[in-house]
Each structure stands twice: as structure tokens, then as C-alpha cells.
């Protein structure tokens, strides 16, 4: 299945679509062009039948370069990612993929709001458009101009109603009692029991994709690193991968080691914060206090060594923005050992705390079949028994450098409940600490940044296994080498609908615990 040379033409699942491997040293991506809507649908169905996933979907106005609008769909397959583009007819009609991949629903609605692609027979409710602009105005079209100070139109949103004796709705958000991101959750309940949950997002929509257009690739890195603050390394790396693939550049080995070091530090920081928050959600504030302290120490070392607590702007197209000396690396190794000790002690406390385990176990169960159907990736998928990790070897898949030589052992748990997601976090912290030590000790010598040759009309796709899941960034350059279209894709797109299903057998007071056990991003998916 794996091609011998980079440029070899490939076919998957006996479908007529031809793929070519994307150049560069990022995660393996095959690019292809669907001959028509039917071919796209057939390919999607073949991916689904083979147990694959819909990884991302976006629309793009490519009239200046290709003379038409295009739909881009990225599928997760055994060998990596298959990136399929479909030229759309002038009426922008496109087949609906949500029947094959339920995860397509929200992405298609977003593509309709932003670009105006019409998916035949699909859910026609707006997703990102909350009445801030008219339905026939599509912000991502090149010729649309600046928004004309539209009056905000209050729009009704058609939530699915649940009827019957004693059933009623509890609306939650977008403004919450705590200081968190905005999102609306509409619960249909009987007593405390959740019959149905429907989410509505888009409150954090800020037009990031439009902001990318027309910028220089180097400038776009800053923006890409700010799509979702807790995953800034994953986004910056995925963006850098995409730009490097478009420009044909490859970063030096030391830069890749540094990037991996930063990504793992980001993963550990987030897992530490989440593990503490899990305790707090069950009112075990002791856990929050301990893990917050660990996370704070961790972030302070980030600030000291990298100049930024969350590591923003440290990964740039072409390499890394800074280098670490030997003393910095030894500080990292020391900290890994100290944190590892404390986390092991805290894990014992969590595991042996009867009250906490009673809250965690069998709460918010998401089984493997459902996780697969919803195209889930990352931590939530691994906690449901789907061992998907872009950093780890699996049959038919070789991870990109520097992971290939590190032998990453993906964590997994079959239970699919809150306890499983906590266990996966603990296991991943331990594994990341091991990786960090190996990376710090074995960091190759050399430059940390390669030059980025300007390229015209290139395109690239970057895929990085962030702490939450697979972060994907698609980049297209225009004829002058500026950014024509950038689409950052957060794993939360797929995981939010999974949350809707995971709460179904539970009661309303357990929702915060279940919700935060996923800890999904609003900003990253609202764009």
C-alpha cells in the first residue's frame, strides 16, 4: 500500500480517483482530484466501509487560479490522509456527505455559510452565521468586498423538539455561570435524565479564515498559532507543514526535534490542567490545586526557556524561531522527572478515591463503533478504544519525523467513559514525559531554520497530532505567493457531536463532568 517513491500515483479502495503523494516531510498526505460529485461520494463511501474517517471538509473560492469553486475533503485512511478536491459547477451544487459521515453535517453548513456551496438535500440551517451578515453574502468569496456594516438580524434556530409527558427543555449558555467560552446547549430532559442534547455554536466566530487571505505565508504563522490558544503548537506546526509542502521547503532535523519538544510540552500542560479540572468537576478541589501548581511550574519554565507561557510563535514555517542550549535541555529533563514523580503520586490518589471513581466510571460512555462512525480522532477516540495516533506506527502507516524513530506508544482504553478519558490523559502524560526526555537528550545538532523559497500557486496540507486530536491546516497560495485560502481544522468539529451522544444515558448534573472530560474547543471550531 505504501508507495516507494514520493511522486508515485496511487489508488485507494479500487476507486478511480488517482492520488499523488504530497512532497515534504510532514505527515503522509495523498492529493487527488475527484472527477465529479458521484466520484466523491463513492470514494467517501469506500473510506467509510474500510473504517476510515472524514478528517476535514471546507469550501474554497478558487476562481482566480482554477476558474471554479472547489470543495476540499480530507479523509483519514490507513496510510495517512487522502485529500480530495472537487471542482464545483457554477451553480455550486455538491453532493451531501453527511449521510456517509455524520461529522460532515456541521462542516458542510459552515461551508455553505462562508462560501455558499449548496449541499443537495442536506441540513440547511446556518451554522456559523448567526444573523451577523445576510444569507446571500459569503465572506470567503474573493469578489465579495468588505462587509457593509450589516444590521444584526436575529434569526430563529430550529432546534429539534422533544415531546411527551414531562419532557421539557433546559437551555444553557451561551453565557455560563463560570468564565468559559460561549456555546449554547439545549437539553431536552425528563426530570434529571437527558433525552437529547443539541449544541449550537458559532458565538466565537471571528473570521479567521478571511483574515489569512492576502497575507504572506510567514505572517500567517502568527495567526495560525492563535486559532486556538491551548493548541498553539499543533496549529503552528500544521500550518508550517502545509506551507513547507506548498513551497517545497524542508526544515532541518534539529527544528523538527524542537517542534516535537514544544508539542509534547503543550500536551503535558493541557493534560495537567485537565486532570486537575476533572477533580474539581467532582468537587475534589484538592486535585485542582495540585495539578494547577504543576501546570503553573510547567508554564513558567516555558516562559523562561521559550519566552512564552503557551509557546506561541515558537514554530514558524521553515523551522523553529528559537534554539535551546544544553542547560535549557537539562532543565527540561529535570522537570520531567520531578513532574513524573508527582503525577504518579496524584494518579494513585485519583485511582484510589472511591467517591471520584464513582463519579468517573460508566459516566458519559462513548463506544468504539460510535466513535468510528463520528470520525473521532485523538484523545477521545483513544479512550473509546480507537487507537489512532499520528505519532505512532500502525499497520500501513509510518509517522513522519521525528516520531518515526521515537517509538511512540499510543495510550488507549476500551471503556469510553470519563474514567477512560482520565486514564488516557495520565498515560499520555507519562509517555510525553518519556518522549520529552528522549527528545531533549537526543536533539540533533545543526540549524533550526531553513529558508523558505517563495512559491506561486502551490498548496499543502499539514496534519499534526495535537493534545486534543488531529489538527489539520490546508493552505493554498495565489500567483504572487501570498495566502489565498487557509483552512484550520480543529478535532473539536468531530468531537462535539460525539459529546451530544455521550450524555444520552446520563443525568444533567453529570454533564459538566462529561463535557470537560472531552474539553473541546469553541474558538478552534467557530473560526
Amino acid at each position: 500500500m505504501r508507495p516507494k517513491t514520493a511522486a508515485r500515483v496511487m489508488k485507494f479502495f479500487d476507486e478511480p480517483v488517482e492520488f499523488e503523494k504530497q512532497p515534504g516531510i510532514g505527515a503522509p498526505v495523498w492529493r487527488g482530484r475527484a472527477g465529479g460529485g458521484a466520484a466523491l461520494q463513492a470514494f467517501a463511501a469506500a473510506v467509510r466501509a474500510a473504517g476510515g474517517r472524514l478528517a476535514a471538509l471546507w469550501g474554497s473560492d478558487e476562481r482566480p487560479t482554477a476558474g471554479c469553486f472547489r470543495l476540499h475533503a480530507v479523509f483519514g485512511i490507513e496510510a495517512g490522509h487522502a485529500w480530495l478536491a472537487l471542482d464545483l459547477p457554477p451553480d455550486l451544487f455538491c453532493p451531501d456527505l453527511s449521510g456517509i459521515f455524520p461529522a460532515a453535517n456541521r462542516m458542510q453548513r459552515a461551508a455553505r455559510d462562508l462560501v455558499g456551496i449548496d449541499f443537495e438535500g442536506a441540513d440547511r440551517r446556518p451554522w456559523l452565521r448567526h444573523g451577523g451578515w445576510p444569507a446571500d453574502w459569503h465572506p470567503l468569496r474573493h469578489d465579495i468586498g468588505e462587509p457593509a456594516g450589516f444590521a444584526n438580524q436575529v434569526t430563529d434556530y430550529d432546534f429539534v423538539r422533544v415531546g411527551g409527558e414531562g419532557a421539557h427543555e433546559v437551555p444553557v449558555g451561551p453565557i455560563h455561570a463560570g468564565t468559559i467560552e460561549p456555546g449554547h446547549f439545549r437539553f431536552s430532559v425528563v426530570g434529571e435524565r437527558v433525552l437529547r442534547l443539541e449544541q449550537r455554536f458559532g458565538y466565537a466566530h471571528k473570521g479567521i479564515e478571511r483574515l489569512f487571505a492576502g497575507r504572506a505565508p510567514a505572517e500567517g504563522a502568527r495567526l495560525a498559532g492563535r486559532v486556538c490558544g491551548d493548541s498553539t503548537c499543533a496549529y503552528a506546526w500544521a500550518y508550517a507543514d502545509a506551507v513547507e509542502a506548498a513551497c517545497g521547503a524542508s526544515p532541518p532535523p534539529r527544528a523538527l526535534g524542537l517542534r516535537a519538544l514544544m508539542l509534547e510540552r503543550e500536551r503535558v500542560a493541557n493534560h495537567l490542567g485537565d486532570l486537575g479540572a476533572r477533580g474539581n468537576d467532582a468537587s475534589l478541589a484538592f486535585g485542582l490545586a495540585q495539578f494547577s501548581r504543576l501546570r503553573e511550574d510547567w508554564l513558567r519554565l516555558n516562559a523562561r526557556l521559550f519566552g512564552h507561557r503557551l509557546l506561541m510563535d515558537c514554530i514558524v514555517p521553515g523551522g523553529a524561531a528559537l534554539d535551546l542550549d544544553a542547560s535549557a535541555l537539562s532543565l527540561i529533563v529535570e522537570q520531567c522527572e520531578a513532574v513524573g514523580r508527582e503525577v504518579r503520586a496524584l494518579r494513585r490518589i485519583y485511582d484510589e478515591h472511591a467517591g471520584l471513581q464513582d463519579r468517573f466510571l460508566t459516566t458519559g460512555v462513548l463506544d468504539m463503533a460510535l466513535a468510528r462512525e463520528l470520525s473521532l480522532s485523538g484523545l477521545a477516540a483513544r479512550a473509546s478504544g480507537l487507537i489512532l495516533d499520528g505519532r505512532a506506527h500502525r499497520q500501513g502507516y509510518t509517522p513522519p519525523p521525528p516520531w518515526a524513530t521515537l517509538g511512540v506508544r499510543p495510550a488507549s482504553d476500551e471503556r469510553g467513559d470519563v474514567a477512560a478519558r482520565a486514564a488516557v490523559r495520565f498515560a499520555e502524560v507519562a509517555e510525553s514525559l518519556r518522549l520529552l526526555r528522549e527528545l531533549a537528550v537526543g536533539l540533533p545538532a545543526g540549524d533550526v531554520r531553513a529558508g523558505l523559497a517563495p512559491a506561486a500557486a502551490g498548496a499543502g496540507l499539514g496534519v499534526v497530532e495535537g493534545w486534543r486530536g488531529e489538527v489539520i491546516v490546508g493552505v493554498a497560495l495565489d500567483a504572487e505567493g501570498r495566502l489565498a485560502r487557509v483552512h484550520p481544522h480543529d478535532p473539536s468539529w468531530q468531537a462535539w457531536p460525539a459529546l451530544e451522544r455521550a450524555v444520552l444515558n446520563d443525568i444533567i448534573p453529570d454533564f459538566p463532568l462529561i463535557n470537560k472530560s472531552f474539553n473541546l474547543s469553541y474558538s478552534g471550531a467557530d473560526l
Partner: protein
């Protein structure tokens, strides 16, 4: 009613008003220490009250007079409860006015009003909170009554002053029934005061709250009264528990000479009790809400056991 009795009564009420937020502050402080956190100042609850009393009241659209009236009722109930529970002395002029059953009724009345007010504005959270509060309440009240009946059987009276007098100054005796009743009372107190493991006074997760969900729509002086009432309730329960199970040090007369030594005794007992509460709250996680009936069911069981022990074993004494 003599002038000194009136003075003692006034002193008891003033003491409750002044000390209740301090007790809350002390518990919060202990909680922070036990979690290895830097603690907020001991006087933080007073700052909060001061702030809230100086803020404007924002009323939900469609709020009825019941909504604005309820905080005063709740505050009044808790104040009255503090007035009839012997804190420093058992010689309280108000005590004959209400016995222990009336005390349980006072707590019930406050609960009724706050739950009604929660439902009054018609938000989903108010409904959830009100419903859960009534679930907790109807399970906690019988257990509390059973605890009180056990003590009432010992003293052959339902008057709190008489009960405490008997326990504190009667001939020395060991009552195994009180051990059971004490455990039951501790369980009920945790549930009634919205503490971990039944509720969490520090939570911001609106979907899990009980007490906090009911008062989400309150602001300004209304919220201040509710916060103060919550402190008073904790104070009342603490003092009731101390008076029933650790009555040593409570004065039998309302003379100054009797009251003065009672004050440090009370302060020491409250400090120890507050620290113990913080410990319980630190080592426990919150129960899944449908486990709360089991928790309160055990409380009721303990209380009934206490009553049976009293009736079957101690009656000959």
C-alpha cells in the same frame, strides 16, 4: 422577661449575626490550607456582604413580589433559628416560643420560600435547583426530626433549652443513642448546608448546583441577605450540633459572669467544628445526585437506630 434576659437574647442574636460570616470565612480558610492553597482572608465573607449591599439590584423580567420578598423571609427564618438555639446560655426568653419541631419548621419555611422564588423567574436552572432542593429537603427533615426526638426522649421535652440543660447539667450518663443521633445529624447538616459531598458551595458549574442554582438570579442586597442567611444557617446548625452533642461550657444563666466563660468555649468548639467540616469537604468528592437519597437514607437509618437504642436500652435507666 427580665432586662438581663432580654439583653442576653439580644446578645445571642447579635453574636450570631456577627460570627456567622466569620465561621464561613474560617471554613473557607481551612479548606484552602488543606488543599495547599493560599487562603483568602478570614474576613472575606464580610467584604463580600459589604460589596453586595452596595450593589444595585438587578431583577429578572417577570419577577413577582415573591422573588424580592423571599430573601427577607429566608434571612428572618435563619435569624429566628439562631435566636432560639442556645449558643452561650440556655436561658433565652425566645426559647419557650418555639421548640425543636418548630425549629425544623423554620428551616422548612425558608426552604419553601427559596425554592418558590427560584421557580418564580422561570429559568431552567432555578427549576432544577428548586427541584433538587426539595428532594434533599424532604429526605433530610425526617432524619433531623428523628435526631431531635432521640434527644427529646432523654430530656422528656421538645424545648431546646430543656434538652440542652438536661444534657449539659443532668447527672453524668453515657447515652449510646446520642452517638447514632450525632452521626445522623452530621450527615443532615452537610446536606442541609449545601456542603460536599451533597452540594458544593464553591461551584460554578450551573448544571450541578443545588443551592447556588436557586439563587443564580439574585443580586445586590438580596444576594447579600441570602449569603448571610446561608452563613447563619451553617452557624445555627453548628451551634445546634454543639449544644446537643457537646453541650459543655454553655451557661445556665444569663448573667454576665455566666456568659463570659461560655464565649471562648463556643469559639473553640466552632473553630474545631469548622476545621472538621473543611476536612470532610477536602477528602470527599461530590456524590452523583441520585446517590444523595442513599446518603440521607443512611442518616435517617442512624437516627432511627438512635431512637431505638434510646427506647429499648436506655429507658430502664
Amino acid at each position: 422577661m427580665s432586662a438581663s434576659a432580654a439583653l442576653a437574647q439580644f446578645f445571642a442574636i447579635a453574636l450570631a449575626l456577627a460570627l456567622a460570616p466569620l465561621l464561613t470565612g474560617w471554613v473557607n480558610m481551612c479548606r484552602a490550607w488543606l488543599q495547599n492553597r493560599k487562603a483568602p482572608p478570614l474576613l472575606q465573607p464580610y467584604y463580600l456582604l459589604h460589596k453586595l449591599f452596595h450593589k444595585d439590584v438587578v431583577l429578572a423580567r417577570g419577577a413577582s413580589p415573591l422573588f424580592t420578598f423571599a430573601p427577607y423571609v429566608v434571612f428572618g427564618c435563619m435569624l429566628l433559628a439562631c435566636a432560639i438555639i442556645p449558643t452561650l446560655s440556655t436561658d433565652l426568653p425566645f426559647a419557650p416560643a418555639a421548640d425543636t419541631i418548630a425549629l425544623v419548621g423554620l428551616f422548612g419555611l425558608a426552604r419553601l420560600f427559596i425554592a418558590l422564588a427560584a421557580m418564580d423567574v422561570g429559568t431552567g436552572f432555578g427549576m432544577l435547583g428548586g427541584r433538587r432542593e426539595m428532594l434533599i429537603g424532604f429526605l433530610a427533615e425526617p432524619a433531623l426530626l428523628m435526631v431531635i426526638f432521640t434527644t427529646a426522649l432523654i430530656s422528656q421535652s421538645t424545648s431546646i433549652a430543656t434538652i440542652v440543660d438536661t444534657l449539659a447539667r443532668g447527672p453524668f450518663a453515657i447515652y449510646p443513642s446520642l452517638a447514632f443521633a450525632g452521626v445522623a445529624f452530621a450527615f443532615v447538616s452537610l446536606a442541609e448546608n449545601a456542603r460536599v459531598p451533597v452540594d458544593n458551595p464553591a461551584t460554578h458549574l450551573e448544571l450541578t448546583m443545588i443551592h447556588e442554582a436557586m439563587v443564580l438570579e439574585y443580586s445586590g442586597r438580596h444576594l447579600a441577605l441570602i449569603e448571610w442567611a446561608a452563613s447563619l444557617k451553617l452557624f445555627a446548625y453548628s451551634c445546634l450540633g454543639l449544644a446537643l452533642f457537646f453541650p459543655w461550657g454553655i451557661a445556665g444563666s444569663d448573667s454576665l459572669a455566666g456568659l463570659l466563660p461560655a464565649l471562648p468555649a463556643l469559639a473553640a468548639k466552632l473553630a474545631a467544628g469548622g476545621a472538621l467540616l473543611a476536612l470532610v469537604e477536602t477528602v470527599n468528592a461530590k456524590l452523583r445526585i441520585f446517590r444523595a437519597p442513599e446518603f440521607l437514607g443512611s442518616a435517617f437509618l442512624f437516627a432511627v437506630l438512635g431512637l431505638l437504642v434510646r427506647l429499648l436500652l436506655e429507658n430502664q435507666a
